[in-house]
């Protein structure tokens, strides 16, 4: 019998530091944890990510430890991409589907050491993992609360972390992992992130969290490091074109109404589906989809004007609704008015004339716009430093 817990919202292991820094008292919740939407100023926090370094407490992210003799085989059955290609010390972005080929979630798979993995995700999926593991010799544990995590993202992130004492970090390749000694324990560092820029994620035991927070901000002060909240992170991830469960798609296991799920192809994630690797959950359905065609296309749209197209319908030339926007923002670094949108096939071809129906209010005076949209091919924000090793100086 575990102790009763009557608290409404949990604190993350970094709470002491986070609470001190969160001067706006603008709190949100994330998976049952109190999380700042903003600490001081969303704009400053966003620009820390693009101009210096921003620190985001991602401890509430769902984390599963998956190990045992069949861990690799199990994950290869679960995920659509070839897990065999993610060697020890590497991280892979991945999606997993139900048998109908509808995406349950996307996330990152950390191959910690031979046969020992950590799966990080937005949604909880322990039940699904257990059902999928029937017949596999594999150990699955939710270690969300057992791992404290910070994302340190932006051009000065590498320098700041080196100042923290992480020697040689500049040689860590994108999607690689490395372990450092820290505070008498271990600090695992991955060159990963959710901002589309140079950046790292730090993983440690909760008892090192306070020390890490304090040391990081001390070491990073001269590198203009600052904590960032959910709002700035969301802006950066939209600019980078990253999708998020619950925002840009409904996880298949939460879909009530038929047809509301999306396949990897319908989310622009077809590149993560490897039909050559052998059986995986959703494969037959996805093969069928590839033969018959998808129902939807996920696109990035450059929206005319500067009014964000949040929640907009997308219309074609004759005014028919052909889709809707799932995320949208004016992107301050790319200087574009970006919308991520789910469109009915065949819409979203490069030359399609599309319009976002935008409503905005100025002093309670509402204006309706039909803003011309252009389909964007390729990433909108993709600085070379994101991929360079050694990580370049800022």
């Amino acid at each position: 019998m575990k102790p009763h817990d009557e608290t409404l919202l949990l604190d993350t292991p970094f709470a002491a530091g986070v609470r001190r820094a969160c001067q706006l008292q603008d709190w949100g919740h994330w998976k049952g944890y109190a999380t700042p939407n903003a600490y001081e100023d969303v704009e400053q926090e966003y620009f820390a990510l693009r101009n210096a370094a921003g620190v985001f407490d991602l401890s509430p992210m769902t984390k599963y430890r998956i190990s045992g003799p069949d861990a690799g085989a199990f994950l290869n059955r679960l995920l659509t991409r070839d897990v065999g290609k993610i060697g020890p010390g590497r991280v892979g972005y991945c999606v997993w589907c139900d048998d109908a080929g509808m995406v349950l979630d996307d996330g990152t798979l950390f191959h910690l050491s031979e046969g020992d993995y950590r799966l990080c995700a937005q949604e909880r999926c322990l039940d699904w993992l257990h059902w999928s593991a029937l017949g596999f010799d594999v150990y699955i544990q939710d270690e969300t609360a057992a791992v404290a995590a910070l994302a340190v993202q932006g051009p000065t992130s590498c320098a700041a972390l080196q100042a923290l004492g992480l020697d040689g970090l500049q040689d860590l390749k994108p999607f690689a992992l490395r372990s450092f000694a820290f505070d008498g324990g271990e600090l695992l560092v991955s060159r990963t992130g959710f901002t589309g820029d140079l950046g790292y994620e730090l993983w440690t035991a909760p008892n090192h969290a306070q020390t890490l927070w304090d040391a990081l901000f001390k070491a990073g002060r001269d590198y203009l490091i600052r904590p960032i909240g959910m709002a700035a992170l969301d802006l950066a991830r939209i600019e980078a074109g990253f999708i998020q469960a619950g925002e840009d798609f409904v996880p298949a296991d939460q879909v009530l109404r038929p047809g509301r799920g999306r396949s990897p192809f319908e989310l622009g994630l077809g590149w993560l589906v490897d039909f050559g690797k052998g059986p995986f959950t959703g494969r037959s359905a996805l093969l069928r989809e590839r033969q018959r065609g998808s129902r939807f296309r996920f696109v990035k749209l450059d929206v005319q004007g500067d009014k964000p197209a949040a929640d907009s319908f997308i219309l074609n030339k004759s005014g028919k609704v052909v889709g809707h926007v799932t995320s949208a923002a004016w992107c301050p670094s790319a200087k574009r008015n970006l919308a991520l949108a789910s469109l009915q096939m065949p819409w979203g071809r490069p030359d399609d004339a599309l319009y976002a129906e935008i409503y905005y209010s100025r002093e309670l005076h509402w204006t309706r716009l039909e803003a011309r949209c252009k389909v964007i091919e390729g990433p909108l924000w993709d600085p070379p430093r994101r991929r360079q090793t050694p990580a370049p100086d800022f």
């Binding site: 009763h4 817990d5 409404l8 909880r124 322990l126 039940d127 939710d142 296991d253 939460q254 109404r257």
Partner: protein, 539 residues
């Protein structure tokens, strides 16, 4: 010359009143006859102990159709439903399982017992909600007759087929499983923790003379999930002032539309002339005449007690005799001198506002059912216990409390013979002893206790065998089979005779939908404009 009404409704329960209100709204001259000196049927609030209001029978509100509430202006007529949240099952080892209203907190509490169950809960909720969305579309519709080729039946069948199709290929298969599975088997497909399964299973057996492993009980759970409070599907609330507020508001709306209610009017017989229902005869010898007669009584009582045997076809009498309406539950209403403490709960726990239970495994629940089968009340009963005065300030004096305790199982008659006052008291004591195991100061706070067995429910309210739903909610008695073939569209076997009680589609639980649906069919037969609103569409 006796007054001739357009319609007489027998029974001032919520369905009778709802039916009458819609008929009166259509301009009919309607008389409602009630056997008791007070209205309400099983939707009643009574002050049996000075200063305390008891919801004597039904005690929480969710299923009452919002379309009806709005259309009959029930808020204007005094009805306010205040949502309550959460639930708790106390365990024998001094712990509990709390079903918190906050989603994340609930998941955390589930994970305290089993991380896997916490994750599975989402799948459970989605699967139940899919079935809920299917059935909700048909609550304010007359079930189509699958043997008929009338355009409206064919249209209804097409709607039914379309709803299944919308669920997708596997929807039909899932639905058929869901409607026939036991709640125990259903929960076993999601959860591994005894107390979580026991907590969730309560909705599958309430009001039903079946055990947690009896086929058909999964549907009963659905019946408790398909209501709403202000659009929050599955939520339950307290009617301010007790469940009598529902009937009182319906009565007020009915009276405002020009209706007439006569209490202490005990209908003994429905008068049939030339094969047509033409009026009723009361116990005191009075007769009332009307173009149509609508019975809010259960089908068994209607057909087997209110007619001269020769007035009805033998088949109807046979089907009525075979209608399943077994009583399974009792009720304690308790006036308390203060709020009892439950040491397992932290001080000021929000779970004090929740529904409380003490059965921590499906095995205990199944054994509780075994006692019923053997003709006695459960020695270790399942309780659905609430303290409405923690939410509603009108139920008890300030600082005092009213507790409502639904008890299952409790048989309509005992193996040893009919209920006696002594047996009833012993039944009450069994329940009080169980609560006191988890609340040491509970007994000392009791000022008054009303104990109700199925016999009280039958004798006072008139529900045969004391079945709270006017007939069991199993697949064989649902939709076009409720109450039985031939009477499933609210029309009785004789011209001029109608049924409007919970024994008809979509069943009991203080929905008022049977009453409204019956009114629509009556108005159709009378070629009057329909006054009953359509159901809100699924969104």
């Amino acid at each position: 010359m006796m007054k001739q009404y357009d319609a007489i409704v027998i029974g001032a329960g919520h369905n009778g009143l709802c039916n009458a209100a819609y008929l009166a709204k259509a301009g009919l001259d309607v008389l409602v006859l009630e056997r008791n000196p007070h209205i309400g049927g099983a939707s009643v609030s009574r002050e049996l102990y000075p200063g305390w209001t008891y919801s004597n029978c039904s005690y929480v509100c969710s299923l009452l159709r919002p379309e009806i509430s709005r259309d009959l202006e029930l808020p204007k007529h005094g009805l306010q439903v205040v949502p309550y949240h959460g639930g708790v099952t106390f365990t024998q080892d001094g712990d509990y399982f709390g079903n918190y209203p906050d989603e994340e907190r609930q998941l955390r509490e589930m994970a305290r017992h089993s991380p896997r169950d916490a994750s599975a809960h989402q799948r459970f909720e989605v699967d139940v909600m899919k079935q809920t969305r299917l059935i909700r579309q048909f609550l304010l519709k007359t079930p189509p007759d699958p043997t008929s080729f009338k355009p409206k039946d064919l249209k209804g069948l097409l709607e039914l087929a379309a709803a299944f199709t919308e669920l997708g290929e596997e929807g039909l298969l899932d639905t058929l499983r869901f409607w026939t599975l036991s709640i125990g088997d259903f929960l076993d497909e999601y959860f591994e923790t005894d107390v979580i399964k026991a907590h969730m299973s309560g909705s599958g057996i309430i009001g039903t003379a079946l055990g947690v492993y009896s086929p058909g009980t999964a549907y009963v759970l659905l019946h408790h999930y398909m209501g709403e409070v202000d659009g929050s599907v599955g939520a339950w609330g307290f009617a301010r002032g007790g469940m009598g507020a529902v009937a009182n508001a319906l009565a007020s709306s009915f009276l405002a539309h020009g209706g007439e209610i006569l209490c202490a009017a005990d209908v003994r017989r429905i008068i049939v002339e030339k094969g047509r229902a033409v009026g009723v005869a009361l116990a005191n010898g009075d007769e009332h005449r009307a173009g149509i007669v609508v019975s809010n009584l259960d089908p068994k009582r209607t057909f087997l007690q209110c007619f001269d045997a020769g007035d009805l076809p033998a088949e109807v009498r046979t089907r009525a005799k075979n209608f399943k309406i077994r009583g399974s539950s009792g009720k304690l209403n308790i006036a308390l001198d203060g709020l009892p403490t439950f040491p397992a709960l932290p001080k000021h726990s929000p779970l004090m506002l929740a529904d409380m239970h003490f059965s921590d495994s499906l095995e205990r629940l199944e054994r509780a059912y075994d006692d019923w089968k053997a003709g006695t009340w459960s020695q270790d009963p399942y309780l659905d216990m609430l303290i409405p005065s923690t939410v509603d300030p009108t139920m008890a004096p300030p600082g005092k409390h009213m507790m409502t305790v639904f008890v299952q199982y409790c048989p309509p008659t005992l193996a040893s013979g009919p209920w006696t006052p002594e047996a009833r008291d012993a039944f009450g004591q069994t329940v009080i002893d169980q609560i006191a195991q988890y609340s040491p100061d509970f007994k000392s706070l009791i000022l008054d206790c009303e104990v109700r067995t199925p016999r009280e429910l039958e004798d006072e309210v008139g529900l045969t065998e004391g079945n709270i739903f006017q007939g069991e909610l199993t697949f064989d008695q649902l939709l076009f089979n409720r109450p039985f073939p031939g009477c499933a569209q609210y029309r009785g076997p004789l011209p001029g005779l109608y049924l409007c009680g919970s024994g008809t589609h979509p069943g009991g639980g203080v929905m008022a939908a049977p009453g409204a649906n019956a009114a629509r069919e009556i108005l159709r037969d009378l070629r009057r404009p329909n006054t009953v609103p359509p159901g809100y569409p699924n969104d």
